[in-house]
Each structure stands twice: as C-alpha cells, then as structure tokens.
Amino acid sequence: MELLLAVAIGLLTGCGVLLLLRGRTFAVMLGLTMLSYAVNLFIFVSGGLTAGAGAVLGATARYADPLPQALVLTAIVIGFAMTAFLVVLAIRSRAELGHDELDNQRAPKRGMP
C-alpha cells in the first residue's frame, strides 16, 4: 500500500510540474492545483497510513494521527484562495495584454473581441 501511495504521489507531482512548466496560464493553474493535491496528500500520509481508525475520541481504540490532518485542512482552504488569486491574475493579464501566454509581455492591445 505504501508503495502504491508513494508512486501515486510521485506521479501527481510529476504531472503537476509538467503542467506548471507550460506556457499558458490555464495550464499553470491546473498544474498548481495538481501540485497542491500532491503536497496535501504527502503531508497527510506523513503521519503514517491508518485505515479504519476513529476520527473522534471515544469511538474506537485506535486513532489516525490528527496533526497532519489539521495542517492539511487549512492547507486545502488556503490552496483554494491561492488558486483563485492566480486565476484572477491570469484573467486580468488576459484582459490587459490580450493573450494568455506566460512569458510574453507584449504591449497591451485594446479592443479585444
């Protein structure tokens, strides 16, 4: 199971990085989202894998590690905010520059379709 998870995390990271390196803003957003999935999963499993354990005190004798969960929970929400920021940056950049290329700082072209 550990091996499967590790491979999955690695592949998610690889896909995220590949998308992150594309030249268009939308791909970068997808890449960042993917990368944050990978990172969240990575942090989450840092407490070790626990299946069928209780999440709430008193229910079972075994508990999953709560600390990584707490860390990841806020990370998910903040990750959303950061993705949203990036999205809006991309939209603004399209609106100002008239294209969605990352590294092309062409002069603003008004009167878009």
Binding site: M1, E2, L3, L4, L5, A6, A8, I9, G10, L11, L12, T13, C15, G16, V17, L21, R22, R24, F26, A27, T33, M34, N40, F42, F44, V45, G47, G48, T50, A53, A55, V56, L57, G58, Y63, D65, L67, Q69, A70, V72, L73, T74, V77, I78, F80, A81, M82, T83, A84, F85, V87, V88, I91, R94, A95, E96, D100, L102, D103, R110
Partner: protein, 933 residues
C-alpha cells in the same frame, strides 16, 4: 566633572537640531547658531584642559550591548584633547569664513548642518573609548563628507568627486571594521584601554598581520595615502570652506589619528615599520611632485596635503618615539597653515571667479593684505625659518637621519626627504609667484579686489598662529605636544627641545639645500613641465567613473541573465534546486525501506489510486482541450477526498469535497475568460526538458514519500489525543487542534485567506471589459435566461444547505465538521443561487457585504483570543463548560466555538467575494450597479 564629556560630544548635535528647527532664519542668525556649537564645546572643554595636560584620562561608560560586552565609552585624554581643539577651533573659523564665502543663493542652513554633522562625526572618532563606536563615527565622517563634497549637487564634478571619495573611504571603512573586530577578539575587548594595554599580545598573535593590513587600509584610504590618494584632488569640487576644514585639518587626519591612537597596540614590528614608512614615503614624493604641475590652486593644495600627510605617515613608520612627537607636531602645524591657504584660495576664487593659476596673476596689486597673509602661510608650507612649518620639518629631517627602516640603504631616506622638501619649496614658490606676481591677470570675468573685511579674520588668526608657533614653539604648543605624545605612546617620550635654533647641524643644511634647490627648480620649471606633458594621463575620476559604468553594466548583464523575466525559468530553477537539495541526501541512504510494517494493499484503494493517477495523466495529455482537462482535474480531487475517507480523515474529505466544488466553479469561470484551447504545441526540445524535470521531481518526491511512509512515526500527536477532551473540551481532535491547540496558526491562516480575497477584489476592479461572444469553435454563447429547473431546485436547496452548514458547524467540536467546512458549504449554497439566477437577481435579495464578513470574522476570532487577556491568561487561552438547559439537556459552551465562528465567517466572506465578483464579470455591464466588496 566627568559628566561634561557627553555635552562636549553632543555640542554640534544641538547646533544641527537648532538649524533644522529654524530654517527660516536669516543667514547671519544661522551663522551665529552654527558658531555657537563649537564655541559651546570649547567653553565646556576649557576647565578640563589643565588636568588633561597633567596626563589625566577622563572616561565615562554606558551599557550599550551588555550581552556582547559592548560599552558606549567616552574617553578624553591629551591626544584627544589636541584633536578636539583642532576640530572645534578650526571649525569655528571655517564656519565664520563660510558666512562670507557662500553666495546668497546657496542654502546656508543645509551647509552648516552638514558641517556640524561632520564635526560631530570627527568628535565621535577622537572621543571614542571603544573601537566599534569609533568605527561608527568613522563611517559617519565618510557619509557627511559625501554630503559636503556634493553640496553643489548641480555640478557633475561635485557629484562624481563625492562618489569617488565615498567609495574609497567607505571601502576602507569596511576593511577597518573587519580589522577592528579581529583586533577586539584578539585583545578580548573592544575597549580602547584594554586594547592599548595588550600591545605585546596583539603583536605576537597569529592574526596580527591581517589585523594590521586591514586597519592600515582603513587609515590609508581616509588619509589619502598612496595608492589611495586619488580621491582627495577630486574632492576639491567641494566648497572651499569644506576643503579648509575636511581636507586640511580634520577628515584626512582621522586616518593619522587612528594610526597614532593604535600605535601602542599595533606598532613596534617590522611589518608596521615597512608598510607605514613605505606608504608614507611614496605619498610624500608623489604628492610633492604632482603638486607642482597643478594649474588649479586647490589642486595644488590638495596634492600638497597628500604630500604632508605622507610626511606624517612616514614619521609614524620610523621606529623612534621621537618621530611620533614630530608627527603630532606636524599635524598641528599642517592644520594651521593649510587651512589658511585653503581660505586664501577661497578668497581668490571668490574675488576673481577663477582658480586657474594660468589666468590669475599679479594679484598683489589688487589684494595686498590677502596676498601677504597667503605668502606667509605658503612660506610655512615650504618650511621657511621663523614659521611653524620649519620646526616640524627640521624634526622630520633629523628623524630621517636616525632610522634604519631601509637597512643598509637607510641613507636614501634623508636624500628622498630633501627631494620632497625641494618640491615642496617649488610648489610653494609657484603658489606665491604665479598667483600674486607674474604679470597681469588673463581673461578674468571680474576685476579682483580685497574680500570683505571679516572674511580675512580667520586667515589672520591662523597666520598669526603660524608665526607665533614658529617663534615661540615651547610657549604656545609645548605643553600640549608633550601631553599628547605621552598619551599617544602610553609613556613619556624621550627628551627633545622645541626651539628655533639648534645650531648648524645636518637638518639645517638639508633645509637650506631644499630651499635653494626648490627655488632653482621653480625657476627652471619649463623643462619639467614639458617633461611631464609627455605623459598620457587619464584623470582618476574618469577611470573611476568608467569602472563604475562597467560594473553597473556587468551587474545589469548578470541580472538580465539570472532574471530574464520568464516565469518558466524561475519555476525551473526553484524546482531543480529542490530536486538537487532533496535528492542529494537520498543518494546517501542505503535503503528507502523503513522498519514500519507495511499495510496490506486492498483492491478498492488500489482502484482509487489508479483512477486518480490516470486522471492526472489525462489532464496532462488533454491540457490543450481545457474543459476536458478541467474535468480530469476534478476527478483527481474527488479521488483524493475518497482517499481521505479511506485513511480515516472524514474532516479532510468533507473539506476537500467542498473545496472541489468551489474550485470547479472557479476554473469554469476562468475558462469563460481565457481561450478554451491552447493553440500552440510546445517544441519537442522544450517538452523533453520539462519531462526530464517533471520526472526528476516525481522520482524525488515519490522516493521521499515512500521513505517517510515506511518510517516509524513518533509525533506530538499523542499529546493532542490525550488532551483534546480534557483540555480543549472536544472529541474531534482535528477541530480542537485547529481552534484551540494551534489556534494562533489558524488565526494567521484565516487572515491570509481574507487578504487573498481582498487582493482578488482589488485585481478585479477596473479590469478592462472584454466579453467573449463565442467559444473556440465559433458557437456563440447561449443568451437564454437561466434554466428553470436549476432555478427551482437551487431555491429549494438553499434552506436545506444552510441548515446542513449550521449543523456541521455546531457538531464540529465533537464530530467531523467545523468552521472551515460549514463556511464552504454555506458559500457554495449561495454561489449556487448566483449560478442559477444571476447576479442581478441575487443582489436585491441578498445584499451581503463580503468584505465586512471577512473583517468581522477575523475580528471575532481575534477578540476571542484577546478575551483571555481579561483573565490574565495568554492570547487564545480557551475555556469551556457544560450547562443544563431545559428541553435540550446538557450542552457545552466553549470559547473555541466563538473562534470557530470567526473562521466560518471569514471562509464564507472570502469564498463569496472571490466567486461572486468573478461571476459578476460575466454578466452584462450595468452602470447603475455599484461595485460591491
């Protein structure tokens, strides 16, 4: 008595403060204020003089950085007294002189403030009893001299000269800092007393050569010693009072002062003698030689100053105590005659409008009084008998006879000294003859005349001193010279006599030879000028500026290379760094497999993971068809939330699910504004390069994950599990961690969330309006009203969804749920209304101020935390108790719930602010609706 010291030190500071406060005063009033500062200082100093001459050392300390063993120490001994007298005395005269020198157009207050700042810095140097404190003031002299040299900042030569001076002296200052720090470490203290008393130990230490070289670098750059002398002639762009003060009496003497001050600690070795005497000798000769060829009066004086500074340095490098006495004596004499000469140059410049000696001739007829004064001072510079320069030069000559620094070639030194003196006579003769005689002025703009009466007064005082010291040396300066030398050497100097006549001896013969040879040299100067004209000389200032330009260019090239303004490049650099930094330790490991027993793989989880990975790969493959890619990403997120359930994290699964919905809405909106397809396929080489990097990242991160997964974990979580119920009052440990144990983190996180949302709002305001009218295939967007079915269903869902979110919020403390999830559910339920009905429908019905929601959320969370202060507890200390309520039974109230409410409100506000504002852009622009945050 001792408590006068800080007042003496801060006398100029009061002047600066007054000048800055009363900027509207007239020029005369400003002059009076500026004059008051050094006069006040001198007044305070006067009663201390007798005891200081007795050899007493006044010292006062304050704790500065006690943990580092640093004390702020003021220390006044006879050597410092001599310098304080020079600083205050010449400062007083220069301020008075500047009143007449500066034109009404020049800002007087700024000039005096800078001059007093400089005076402050110099006082700090000489009064410091701690070497780091000394260094601080040392740098302040560099800065304030920069301000003074560039006083006429509209002039290019002033700016360049100031820059050059600052660069050279500040670079030397940095070397000095390192030297002083090392010195302090070797001596065990930064206190001057301790360092002076540990001379033998310092000299014997292995780091001594390094310390010496660094300290000498600092001193030599400041005192314009060869090969760092070139900044001084360029600093002549300063107003002449500045030159009279900084470049004759004070700043350039700071380096000399440092050498004398540290003489007991650093001198006495062969290294000291060879370095110091060699630098001094070369400076003496180059300065004297080049002074003769300057056409600018101030340039001549500048090179002459360099030469005399070299003379003093050379004296310090001769291994006799008497040489140090001669050095101190020459410091006084040089300050007096050079300041008066600079003042003469200023008067000439002022009254003729030129400083070019090829134009200014025959001024004797126009300003006989000034000419007489200047001639006396120039004679003192040349070392003519009956004047002060003669005495110290005689002492210098006799010292060159009694040394052995050059070994068997030591006889060279008196010869070279005589040659330097000869040039000194020649350039003094040129100063006198070329300016005051030698025909008539050529091409001057105005007819020269005597300066205002009082402009001459400072010169008269200084010239009187030249003659007075020349005639009655013992009576005028004998006491202070002896006391200062004793303080400098930390022991009484050998016997010497200050007198005009020592009988016919070798030094007198050397003087006579130098005098007559110098006159002959001046008369036959034509040949020498022709010889000198044969050299191609680029001015130091242009070389320096060229160097600066090249440096700037190189830096720009480098930063253009390192920062090409391409995001992909930056990302790649960061990721490669990550791969290398994380990958290298992996190479050191023998085995990734840890001791933790593996969990058996089950089919369901494996299937989840497979779908997730396939969806991720599909996202990459289909990334140019963006809608498809978006769906695939959502699949990944969905699988992730299922995985969270599988591994016992219901809270995470709930959050991930809710965020997934919000993210999908967000990306759909993004897609509306962005092109729906990526038209261009990356070049194969780019793709290969990115694949390599992605593969490397995948391998490193996957390996790390595996390594981590198979290790035995020993985390702090056991503490949280044990104390969640008893300490935090909740059974949902994750929630208790969020709102209680790590509440401060959460507080920061919701703040970040709010800031991100506000940033997005700011980015969306004033965005140029553009609305795509058709999709990528040319199909126009549907203009239909919102679908009926969705409208009806969403309206029915809203109360239910709100109820669910309230439920999730309240059970959060004990069961999966909490503020984050509840906030997301509420936000999504409201967003659904926007989607189903449009902004125009929602706005009149639900007029929420999103930014107010965010603000109140953060405020509630913050106040909850601050509430515990009322009970004398630290921020965010939680409280909970159980109450019996009729009908409901036992309920729990906890301060953490109020905190969670803050989290809830912030999440609702932020999510809505982001999505609703973005969504609003898709609707037709209606000017009557005001933007809403």
């Amino acid at each position: 008595m001792v408590s006068i010291l800080p007042w003496i030190l801060s006398a100029p500071l009061f002047g600066i403060a007054l000048l800055l406060c009363f900027r509207q005063l007239s020029r005369n009033q400003q002059t009076w204020i500026a004059l008051a500062a050094p006069a006040f200082g001198l007044l305070l100093l006067a009663p201390l003089i007798p005891q200081l001459l007795q050899g007493e050392v006044l010292q006062q300390q304050w704790q500065w950085l006690p943990l580092l063993g640093l004390q702020w120490t003021l220390r006044l001994d006879a050597l410092a007294l001599l310098f304080v007298l020079l600083i205050f005395g010449i400062g007083l005269l220069v301020i008075f002189y500047a009143r007449y020198y500066l034109s009404p157009k020049d800002p007087m207050g700024r000039f005096y403030a800078c001059l007093l700042l400089f005076m402050q810095a110099m006082l700090g140097i000489v009064l410091s009893g701690n070497v780091l404190q000394l260094w601080l003031f040392w740098e302040l002299t560099s800065v304030s001299s920069f301000l003074l040299i560039s006083y006429w900042s509209h002039r290019s030569d002033a700016r360049k000269g100031a820059r050059l001076a600052l660069t050279v002296t500040a670079a030397g200052g940095l070397a000095l800092l390192v030297g002083l720090v090392l010195l302090g470490q070797v001596a065990g203290s930064y206190q001057l007393d301790v360092i002076l008393s540990k001379g033998p130990e310092i000299v014997a230490h292995a780091q001594y050569p390094l310390i010496l070289i660094l300290v000498l670098l600092g001193a030599f750059t400041k005192s314009a010693q060869f090969p760092f002398h070139f900044w001084l002639p360029n600093a002549m762009a300063a107003p002449t009072p500045v030159s009279a003060y900084l470049h004759s009496a004070t700043m350039v003497k700071a380096g000399i002062f440092l050498l004398i001050r540290l003489y007991p600690a650093l001198a006495g070795t062969d290294l000291w003698f060879s370095l110091v005497s060699l630098a001094g000798l070369l400076t003496l000769l180059t300065g004297a030689y080049f002074a003769l060829f300057q056409h600018d009066i101030k340039g001549l004086l500048a090179y002459s100053t360099i030469s005399h500074l070299g003379l003093i340095t050379l004296l310090l490098g001769l291994d006799t105590d008497l040489a140090t006495v001669a050095a101190i004596f020459h410091i006084i004499n040089h300050a007096v005659f050079k300041a008066s000469l600079f003042m003469a140059a200023g008067i000439i410049d002022h009254e003729t409008g030129s400083r070019d000696m090829r134009k200014i001739n025959g001024l004797w007829h126009f300003m006989p009084v000034t000419a007489s004064l200047a001639m006396v001072a120039a004679a003192a510079m040349a070392g003519v008998p009956l004047l002060n320069g003669f005495l110290s030069k005689e002492m210098f000559f006799s010292q060159t006879l009694h040394q052995s620094v050059l070994g068997s070639l030591s006889w060279l030194l008196p010869l070279l000294a005589t040659i330097a003196a000869m040039f000194s006579v020649a350039y003094s003769a040129r100063f006198i003859h070329d300016v005051f005689f030698n025909g008539k002025p050529i091409g001057l703009d105005k007819t020269p005349h005597e300066p205002p009466r009082y402009m001459r007064v400072p010169m008269e005082i200084l010239v009187a001193l030249c003659i007075g010291v020349g005639l009655f040396p013992q009576w005028l300066v004998g006491d202070i010279l002896l006391a200062a030398s004793t303080a400098a050497l930390q022991q009484a100097p050998p016997a010497y006599s200050l007198a005009l006549w020592h009988g016919v001896n070798l030094p007198l013969v050397m003087s006579a030879v130098a005098f007559f040879a110098g006159i002959v040299l001046y008369i036959n100067r034509k040949q020498l000028f022709l010889f000198q004209a044969g050299f191609q000389s680029t001015l130091a200032i242009y070389r320096f500026e060229g160097l600066v330009q090249r440096l700037v260019y190189a830096c720009r090239r480098f930063s253009q290379w390192a920062e090409p303004g391409r995001l992909q490049w930056y990302i790649a650099i960061i990721l490669w760094a990550m791969v290398l930094l994380a990958g290298y330790p992996l190479l050191q490991l023998a085995d990734l497999q840890g001791p933790r027993p593996a969990m058996a793989a089950d089919l369901l989880t494996a299937a989840l993971l497979l779908v997730m990975v396939l969806a991720a790969v599909a996202t990459v493959l289909w990334q140019r068809q963006r809608l498809l890619a978006l769906i695939m990403v959502s699949v990944v997120g969905l699988m992730l939330s299922l995985l969270f359930i599988r591994f016992s994290a219901p809270d995470l699964a709930l959050t991930q699910l809710a965020v997934e919905v919000a993210t999908a809405v967000l990306l759909m909106l993004a897609l509306y504004f962005l092109p729906h397809r990526s038209p261009k396929q990356s070049a194969h080489s780019t793709l290969l390069r990115d694949l390599v990097l992605a593969g490397a990242c995948a391998i490193v991160v996957g390996s790390l994950a595996y390594l981590m997964l198979t290790q035995k974990v020993d985390s702090v979580s056991a503490y949280f599990l044990a104390n969640a119920k008893s300490g935090g009052g909740g059974t949902n440990v994750v929630n208790v961690i969020l709102v209680d144990f790590r509440g401060f983190d959460t507080f920061g996180e919701i703040t970040v969330l709010g800031i991100a949302a506000l940033g997005i709002y700011k980015l969306l305001t004033g965005i140029p309006r553009f609305k795509p009218s058709a999709d990528a295939d040319g199909r126009s967007w549907a203009l239909d009203a919102h679908p009926l079915l969705l409208r009806v269903v969403s309206q029915g869902l809203l109360p239910l969804a709100l109820l669910v979110s309230v439920y999730i919020f309240f059970r959060g403390h004990n069961l999966p749920g909490g503020g984050f999830v509840a906030g997301l559910v509420t936000a999504i339920a409201l967003i659904l209304q926007y989607i189903a009905h449009g902004v125009d429908w929602v706005k009149p019905r639900l007029n929420l101020q999103f930014s107010a929601l965010i603000a109140s959320g953060i405020l509630i969370a913050g106040l909850t935390g601050a509430f515990s202060w009322l009970f004398g507890k630290p921020f965010l200390t939680s409280w909970f108790d159980y109450f019996q309520v009729p009908l409901l039974g036992q309920i729990e109230l906890a301060s953490a719930m109020a905190f969670d409410l803050g989290v809830y409100l912030t999440v609702v506000g932020s999510t809505l602010l982001i999505l609703a504002n973005l969504g609003k852009l898709t609707t037709r622009y209606k000017p009557e609706h005001k933007e809403q945050a």
